[in-house]
Subunit: 205 residues, 2 copies
């Protein structure tokens, strides 16, 4: 009878190479912008010629797709962790969630553009790469329900508030905290509007 190894070393090696390629693409994207990624430079960074990349990815967009999925998977893992350890007080919990999202977004502009803006013409994430972002959304909505926020419009609003602060921070004060420090104020405005209990996060004016 044949004896199968319990680990597929070849598949592991292959996965490691795919990861190397994706990491190189991230490095270029962070340095020069998402659209500045070229297959030649990616290949050079991992010690290949560009055609060899096609043994690992079907196209350049397939690399973007892997980057998209990886970014959302990472955020999903962080969000699971974050949502489990939320403060008991609803307003504190809101602030905690928003700060976590904000810091993740602001840490990497290229990543944020890939995850949340459609800046690469023709790139549409695959079902598989999209899945973790759906999962994030489901868990986020569940967490909001536990805080007492159940109306879809309220959740839409919360997302717009966080996203707006992030966008301004990235566009007009990268590396600073001019918009980040308004998070407690905005969370209070939101909590007041949806009538969440508890003392305000900051002193009223």
């Amino acid at each position: 009878m044949s004896v199968l190894p319990n680990r597929d070393r070849q598949a592991e090696r292959r996965e490691a190479t795919r990861r190397e390629i994706v990491d190189a693409a991230w490095e270029i994207a962070r340095r020069d912008g998402l659209a500045a990624v070229t297959l030649r430079e990616v290949a050079a960074m991992v010690g290949m010629r560009s055609p060899s990349l096609y043994s690992h990815f079907d196209s350049k967009n397939a690399i973007y797709d892997a980057m998209f999925g990886q970014a959302w998977s990472l955020f999903l893992a962080e969000a699971e962790e974050n949502l489990e350890r939320l403060p008991a007080a609803p307003r504190e919990a809101l602030l905690d969630m928003s700060e976590h999202f904000f810091d993740f977004a602001v840490a990497d502009l290229a990543r944020y553009q890939l995850m949340n803006q459609r800046s690469i013409p023709g790139f549409v994430p695959s079902e598989a790469a999209y899945a973790p972002s759906v999962e994030v959304m489901e868990r986020f909505i569940a967490a909001m329900h536990r805080l007492g926020v159940t109306d879809g419009a309220d959740i839409d609003l919360y997302l717009a508030l966080c996203g707006g602060l992030v966008d301004m921070q990235l566009a007009n004060d990268p590396g600073g905290d001019r918009w980040r420090r308004q998070l407690p104020r905005v969370m209070d405005m939101f909590a007041d509007d949806v009538a969440l209990p508890g003392p305000p996060l900051r002193r009223p004016r």
Copy 2:
């Protein structure tokens, strides 16, 4: 003595051609995305070969630069108009401004990306193209002052609120009004927070 014509017909023709080129670029950008603009297609649309474009623009980025300047100049013209005819009631005025910005932004995704997001690697707007956006900002701040909003942090917040709703609308409900219809609510939240007088725009919950 020499008689100079009082109109430079040649310069006029030249300006008209530049405008044709920019319009063609907008058409492609709206159809396929900002980064999908190619000199070949632009040239073909205006009946030229691509090298001829260099008689009118120094580079592809110079075309983006003209587009950037044109978009902000158009918004400046609209904003001047809008800011002159604001309702007297501060809350109504806030809503009016935000709806105007929102509708302008949502009407053209490619234009919004060029104006407000850095999605073209290496493209940095020139001083001249940037000028109208600075002018918009100055006039907007003056208008806010007239409404009684003078704190820089409050103005930062207002911009983030509007931008956040726009981004969500464009990304998650293009063509719809899922976030637009929250504008009155958000304007009330803001007006309450900065203690603007007047009745609320919408019925409190």
